[in-house]
C-alpha cells in the first residue's frame, strides 16, 4: 500500500517527543468521533525579541498509524522553531492533506510531512492526519497566540 511509507511506519512505532512535559501554557484534548482516536497535547511557546518561538510540543496520543505519525512529525517539525514559520508549515500540511492527492507537499516546508502525501487520496483518513495539528492550533489559540486556526472551511457551492 502506497499509503504506508516506511517513514510513516517508523514515526508511528517510535513517536518523536512523545509524553507530556512541563512547562506548558495550554493543554487540549481532541478526539476523532468516528474512530475514537484521542490526543492530549501541550504547547510551550516563548516570546522572544524576534517573536514567539515554539519551545515544546508534548503529547499523549492513541490512534492509527496515520494519526500517530502525523503527530510525531508535527512535534519534530515545530519544536524550536519560530511560530510564524510553524504556522506556514501547518498551512502547507493542511493544503497537501486536503488536496485529494493533487499536492505532493514541499519537503522544504513540511519535512517528513511529505510522507503523508498519500493520505489526500483517502478522504476518510484526512481527519486522522489532521487530528494532532487541530489540537496543536487549538492549544496555540488557548495559550493566547493568534493563528489561522479555523477548521477546514467548507467549500462554497458553485451555483
Amino acid at each position: 500500500m502506497d499509503l504506508y511509507q516506511q517513514l510513516i511506519l517508523e514515526h508511528s512505532k517510535n513517536p518523536q517527543h512523545a509524553g507530556l512535559r512541563d512547562p506548558f501554557e495550554a493543554e487540549v484534548h481532541h478526539v476523532n468521533p468516528t474512530c475514537g482516536d484521542e490526543v492530549t497535547l501541550r504547547v510551550h511557546v516563548e516570546d522572544t525579541p524576534d517573536g514567539p518561538v515554539v519551545r515544546d510540543v508534548s503529547y499523549d496520543a492513541l490512534g492509527c498509524s496515520i494519526s500517530m505519525a502525523s503527530t510525531s512529525i508535527l512535534a519534530e517539525e515545530t519544536i524550536g522553531r519560530p511560530l510564524s514559520e510553524v504556522l506556514t508549515t501547518y498551512e502547507a500540511m493542511k493544503a497537501m492533506l486536503t488536496s485529494k492527492g493533487e499536492d505532493p507537499g514541499d519537503e522544504e516546508v513540511i519535512g517528513d510531512g511529505v510522507a503523508l502525501s498519500g493520505v489526500g487520496k483517502y478522504p476518510a483518513r484526512v481527519k486522522c492526519a489532521l487530528l494532532g495539528w487541530m489540537a496543536f492550533t487549538d492549544a496555540l489559540h488557548q495559550s493566547g497566540h493568534s493563528t489561522e486556526t479555523t477548521p477546514i472551511p467548507a467549500k462554497e457551492g458553485t451555483s
Binding site: 478526539v31 468521533p33 476518510a124 457551492g157
Partner: protein, 429 residues
C-alpha cells in the same frame, strides 16, 4: 421581473422529462396534475440520480474508511453543497431532515430542550412562562402545531397575526402582538392555500427590534419563488425536497451559523456525537449534530439532481413567471364565473401559483370529484390550514397549484370541467 413564461415548445420538452404526465386516470382521461403544491412530480434526471447512487456508490456515509463509503460521503456532502448554493447558503449551515415538518419540529424542540448543559449558548433558546411565540392565522399545520406543543411543554403563550378578507396578513396590530415577550416569530413565506407571499423584510425588521428569532416556512417559496437566505435575513428556514422535483423523504433546515451552534440536539444517536460514555455524551458541531442515524443519502443526492434540473430549465425565475401566467389565466377564468369565489388575493401582486376557491353551494369534495372524473387532479379540503379555513368560514376549498410542467390547456381543462359542476348539482350555472 424580466423572466418570461415557458413557450409551448419549452413546456412540451419539460413535460417529456416527467414520465407520469403521460398517464391517464379513471376511464382514460389524460392526467391534468394541478396538485404540485402537495407534492411535485419527479423528472427522469432525479430518478436516475437516485438509482445511480444505489447501483454504484451505496453505503453509509461518514461511517467507514472503505472506498464505497468515501464515495458515498463525497456524493452526500456534494449534494449538501449543491442544495446550499441554491438558497445562497454555506453547506455547513444546511441540515438534512426527512421533510419540512421535521425541520420545523427540530426548531421548536430546540426551545424546550434548552438550556442544555452541554451546548454553550443554548440559553438563547430557553423558553418559559411569560414568553411568547408569534405565528399567523394562515400557517400550515406544520408551522402551527409544533409551536402549540412547544407552548404546552414550556408554559409559553402562543399568539397569532390575523388574516384580512383579501387573504393578506393583517399587520395593523403588530405592535401589540410583537413585544419584548416574543421570543420566536414563525410564519410562512408563501401560503400553500391563498398563494399570498408575505412581507418577510418588514416582519424580520420588526422582530429584530424586540430581539425575537425568525423562523420561515419556505416550503412553497424555495420551489416557486426562489430564496436567498442572505437577502431574507431570517434565522431559521425550512423546506421539503418533494415539492421541488426531489424525492420524498428529504427536507432541509437552514440556520444562521451561530444559532445552529447554540442549538441543542433533537434526534440523538449515531454520527451526531463527539464522545459517548455511559455516564453522558457530548455532541458534534452542526450540521452533524442534527443528523442522527444513517441519513437519507440517496434522497439528498436526488434533491441535488432536482436543483440541477431546475437550473437546467431556466431557473426559478422562469418557473415563477410561468406559474404566474397560468395563475393569471385561472384567476380570470374564475372571475368570469360568478358562482365561484376565490379565497386569497385576486390579483398577481405578491402572489405564487396557488389558487383556492369555493363553488357556491357545492362542497369542495364534490367539486374535486367532478374534476377528477375529467382527469383534473386538484386538492380539496383544508390543505393542512384548518384555522385559515375557519377564518374564511368554509370547511374546505378546492385548490389548484402549478408547476413548471403545467400548460395553458390544463388551466382551460380545469375551467371546462368546472362548468359541469353547477349542472350536476343543480345549481344556477
Amino acid at each position: 421581473m424580466t423572466a418570461t413564461p415557458f413557450t409551448t415548445e419549452e413546456v412540451a420538452r419539460i413535460r417529456a422529462d416527467f414520465p407520469i404526465l403521460a398517464r391517464t386516470v379513471r376511464d382514460g382521461a389524460p392526467l391534468v396534475y394541478l396538485d404540485s403544491g402537495a407534492t411535485s412530480q419527479k423528472p427522469t434526471a432525479v430518478l436516475d440520480a437516485e438509482r445511480d447512487f444505489y447501483e454504484r456508490l451505496n453505503s453509509a456515509p461518514h461511517r467507514g474508511a472503505h472506498a464505497l463509503s468515501e464515495e458515498a460521503t463525497a456524493a452526500y456532502e456534494g449534494a449538501r453543497e449543491r442544495i446550499a448554493a441554491f438558497i445562497g447558503a454555506q453547506a455547513q449551515d444546511v441540515v438534512f431532515t426527512k421533510n419540512a415538518t421535521e425541520s420545523l419540529n427540530l426548531a421548536a424542540y430546540a426551545f424546550s430542550n434548552s438550556p442544555h448543559p452541554g451546548i454553550p449558548g443554548s440559553e438563547r433558546f430557553a423558553l418559559g412562562e411569560g414568553d411568547e411565540v408569534l405565528v399567523t392565522e394562515m400557517e400550515h399545520h406544520a408551522n402551527l402545531v409544533p409551536w402549540q406543543e412547544l407552548c404546552r411543554r414550556t408554559g409559553a403563550t402562543l399568539r397569532w397575526v390575523p388574516v384580512t378578507d383579501e387573504g393578506r396578513l393583517d399587520l395593523s396590530g403588530l405592535d401589540e402582538l410583537l413585544t419584548e415577550r416574543t421570543k420566536v416569530v414563525a410564519f410562512v413565506h408563501a401560503s400553500n392555500v391563498l398563494g399570498t407571499v408575505n412581507p418577510v423584510a418588514e416582519i424580520v425588521a420588526r422582530s429584530r427590534e424586540v430581539g425575537a428569532l425568525v423562523v420561515l416556512d419556505a416550503c412553497q417559496s424555495v420551489p416557486h419563488l426562489g430564496v436567498d437566505v442572505t437577502d431574507l435575513d431570517v434565522d431559521l428556514l425550512a423546506f421539503s425536497g418533494h415539492k421541488m422535483f426531489g424525492p420524498s423523504g428529504i427536507g432541509v433546515l437552514w440556520g444562521r451559523r451561530e444559532l445552529l451552534e447554540a442549538m441543542p440536539p433533537f434526534l440523538t444517536g449515531g454520527s451526531m456525537i463527539e464522545t459517548v460514555r455511559m455516564e453522558g455524551s457530548t455532541y458534534a458541531p452542526p450540521p452533524q449534530r442534527f443528523e442522527a442515524g444513517v441519513p437519507m443519502t440517496a434522497q439528498a443526492i436526488g434533491l441535488a439532481a432536482a436543483v440541477d434540473y431546475i437550473e437546467s430549465i431556466g431557473g426559478v425565475d422562469r418557473i415563477h413567471a410561468h406559474e404566474l401566467a397560468l395563475t393569471e389565466r385561472l384567476l380570470a377564468g374564475l372571475a368570469a364565473r360568478p358562482w365561484v369565489t376565490v379565497v386569497g388575493p385576486s390579483d398577481l401582486e405578491s402572489r405564487g401559483g396557488t389558487v383556492a376557491f369555493v363553488v357556491d353551494g357545492v362542497h369542495a369534495h364534490d367539486v374535486g370529484q367532478v374534476l377528477d372524473g375529467s382527469g383534473v387532479a386538484v386538492r380539496v379540503g383544508h390543505h393542512c390550514a384548518w384555522p385559515l379555513h375557519r377564518r374564511f368560514k368554509v370547511a374546505a376549498t378546492t385548490r389548484a397549484s402549478f408547476a413548471a410542467y403545467n400548460t395553458v390547456d390544463e388551466v382551460d381543462a380545469l375551467l371546462t370541467a368546472l362548468d359541469t359542476v353547477p349542472q350536476i348539482f343543480g345549481m344556477a350555472g
